[in-house]
């Protein structure tokens, strides 16, 4: 994925506006309600959440220490650790490791880090085919498409579209779909099972991410539903895991917090169907070779920002997407990176900087209603970071890029300002737009950000979610020619 596609382009791509909108709405509202129920089952949710945030803060404040500890534990358990400063280096390392096995195919389990660095494209350029094995990722890959939601990446496709994609494309990639494939989800899942089983049984190399890495023990954790993760983690001879450095937690015991927070926030389950943990390699069980690629790619720059660093606590549960009125209308693609929704709006501009018009506009793709903060299982104050990043875009100031202090010029009069204006206008001034947004709009209009009152005060008061305006983003975008003729 290019990742740098400008907002207007991203918005123009879709010809399935109505479908996308209704799928997204259905998905986000369904998961939202289920999540609330799963969370309500635990009387100590607030305390778990506080502990989760604190554990991540402890890790981040001493990340160098924990990464060194992790490295020695993984190495002692028979794994090999590699360090990648940026996407290019990570891609080069993985490519080299795959080539060393002599294989030209790898199976992959859904990983946002590998999507962030564009690993599949890099492997393809080196003559290596990467097969996505998560059902949704398979749909996306076969449809030559991009994911639109962290948890359900193909949520913009309905069952008939999926059937057509399977019928037309599966044969080009391996075992074809049955001639008479219907659009029932059970039959579609069965077709995917058969198509992918052949690949799992043949695969010699797998690439994964990880949800957590335990510094103390060198253990990696993958949380999933379908079993494709287990296939990738246990059948091949070589396993390569590409993981952001912020996924570290200090101790084995810390998993007791995150294995309660994540499934309930994410799929709204007491526990997801499968969780795998492994520590290095085990004789006679699973891969003989294990490589861990530790990825920076902008994370240390994010860490240098004392307000923005809390974004690195994120455990990618996607709860913030599901409650976000802006995401619901814009869809995941408009965010132009692997990370859509509120978390994308604060993470992408920090990982990549705000030099491009798209990245500068992301902090404005929000009404600051605060629903994302309310649901975040690690209490990331997303509105606080948004306001902070807006300030930096507008007024300029110092930031860290590639490990060096740089001074950001104020966006005034530049393309970045125009993009930001358009995003802001859309989020704030839309007819009958977000109630909470309207309340704040007067204070933020005109790109003169005002510090919001103390952490959370303004938005935690408005618990109920804003209504969705009648005109969706994509329609509005087209009607106004990319916001230039806004209103």
């Amino acid at each position: 994925m290019s990742g740098a596609e400008p907002f207007p382009e991203a918005a123009r791509v879709s010809v399935r506006n109505a479908q996308l909108r209704s799928n997204l709405r259905h998905a986000t509202h369904t998961i939202r309600a289920k999540r609330a129920k799963a969370v309500a089952e635990l009387a100590d949710w607030g305390r778990l959440r506080a502990a989760g945030a604190a554990i991540k803060d402890r890790t981040l404040r001493h990340l160098d220490h924990y990464l060194e500890q992790l490295e020695s534990a993984v190495t002692a358990a028979g794994g090999q650790v590699h360090w990648a400063v940026d996407a290019d280096e990570a891609n080069r390392i993985v490519t080299r490791l795959v080539k060393a096995t002599g294989e030209t195919e790898v199976v992959k389990v859904k990983s946002m880090a590998t999507q962030e660095i564009g690993l599949n494209e890099a492997l393809a350029a080196a003559g290596i085919r990467a097969y996505e094995t998560d059902l949704a990722e398979l749909i996306v890959q076969l449809g030559d498409d991009r994911p639109s939601h962290i948890l359900v990446p193909a949520i913009h496709r309905n069952r008939t579209e999926i059937r057509d994609i399977f019928r037309h494309e599966m044969g080009h990639w391996g075992r074809p779909a049955p001639e008479d494939l219907s659009d029932s989800p059970a039959e579609l899942a069965e077709a995917a099972r058969l198509h992918l089983r052949e690949k799992f049984l043949r695969a010699k190399v797998a690439v994964s991410g990880a949800n957590f890495m335990v510094a103390e023990t060198g253990t990696l954790v993958v949380v999933e539903s379908e079993g494709n993760g287990r296939m990738c983690l246990t059948l091949p001879e070589t396993l390569i895991s590409v993981v952001g450095i912020e996924k570290t937690v200090p101790t084995w015991r810390d998993l007791e917090v995150f294995l309660q927070l994540l499934p309930r926030s994410s799929t709204a389950e007491r526990m997801n169907p499968y969780t795998s943990t492994w520590t290095g390699t085990t004789d006679g069980d699973g891969p003989r070779e294990f490589h861990l690629v530790l990825l920076d790619n902008g994370r240390t720059d994010t860490l240098a920002d004392q307000v923005g660093r809390q974004a690195l606590r994120c455990i990618r549960c996607s709860a913030c997407l599901n409650v976000c009125p802006v995401y619901e209308r814009a869809g995941g693609h408009a965010y132009g990176s692997a990370y859509p929704g509120p978390i994308g709006a604060i993470l992408t501009p920090q990982l990549r900087g705000t030099a491009s018009a798209l990245d500068a506009s992301l902090p404005y793709a929000s009404s600051l209603c605060g629903a994302c903060y309310e649901v975040c299982p690690v209490a990331i104050d997303i509105p606080e970071v948004l306001v902070h990043l807006r300030e930096r875009v507008v007024e300029g100031g110092s930031a860290t890029r590639d490990g060096a202090r740089v001074t950001i010029k104020p966006a005034k009069g530049h393309a970045a300002e125009r993009a930001a204006m358009r995003a802001a206008r859309w989020a704030f001034e839309h007819p009958r737009a977000l109630r909470a947004g309207e309340r704040l709009a007067s204070r933020t209009r005109g790109l003169h950000p005002t510090r919001l009152p103390g952490p959370g005060a303004a938005w935690t008061a408005s618990r109920d979610l804003p209504r969705v305006p009648p005109e969706p983003f994509r329609d509005w975008w087209q009607r106004t020619h990319g916001g230039r003729e806004a209103k």
């Binding site: 778990l48 360090w83 049984l201 059948l235 920076d296």
Partner: protein
């Protein structure tokens, strides 16, 4: 400079606001959350386990130690299984009543396992609050792939010994250096219009036998 040194150096420069004298435990983590959600007798804990397993569509059976061989035989017969993979540590008497079923060794390759009807294992621990069984690759559970490739998994849980209430209690009992598989219901996906479908890649049928003395 190596990438390792570059990254560690960047981290140290990024954290200039952290006092040099601060050590990790100076950052407070209050574990004020509950060890267990609720107050239960061992029987109630087992009951909750059964309920939560069933809620995520595992099929739950209960029997005594003496009934176990015939129960296993009938589960395999109902399913029409002719082959069953069992790790070496599964007691021979578990399969004593299965006359028609061929026992396949756990050393089988992925492809061989793909042709096997069922797998029978024990477990390391079961978690009542979440409806989870955890396998830790011990002798009665075997290497990870045997519980993954066949489409039907029968897992035997000794109650109340192997049952804990909560996730924190389970982690205490488990050894991080062993490869672990936490299983909560059969494999599932909701990727197609959020319709839940059982079984994409892992076993589509999960049967849990709760065995008491």
């Amino acid at each position: 400079m190596s990438s390792r040194e570059i990254i560690l150096g960047r981290i140290r420069r990024a954290l200039t606001d952290v006092p040099r004298t601060e050590v990790p435990r100076d950052v407070p983590v209050y574990r004020a959350y509950l060890r267990v959600h609720g107050d239960r007798t061992p029987e109630q804990t087992t009951e909750l386990l059964a309920e939560n397993l069933a809620d995520y569509r595992a099929v739950v059976h209960r029997c005594t130690e003496t009934e176990l061989p015939s129960r296993i035989a009938s589960l395999l017969a109902e399913r029409g299984s002719r082959t069953v993979v069992t790790p070496a540590g599964v007691p021979a008497e578990w399969l004593a009543r299965c006359t028609e079923v061929e026992r396949v060794p756990e050393e089988s390759t992925g492809r061989q396992l793909d042709a096997v009807d069922s797998v029978l294992t024990g477990c390391a621990v079961a978690i009542a609050e979440t409806g989870t069984v955890v396998l830790d690759a011990s002798a009665d559970q075997g290497r990870r792939r045997i519980t993954l490739v066949p489409d039907h998994h029968i897992c035997v849980v000794r109650v109340p010994d192997q049952v804990v209430d909560s996730v924190p209690q389970a982690l205490e009992r488990l050894a991080p250096e062993r490869p672990l598989t936490w299983i909560s219901g059969p494999s599932a996906t909701s990727d197609i219009e959020l319709d839940r479908v059982e079984g994409v890649h892992g076993p589509r049928s999960l049967e849990i036998v709760l065995v008491s003395d």
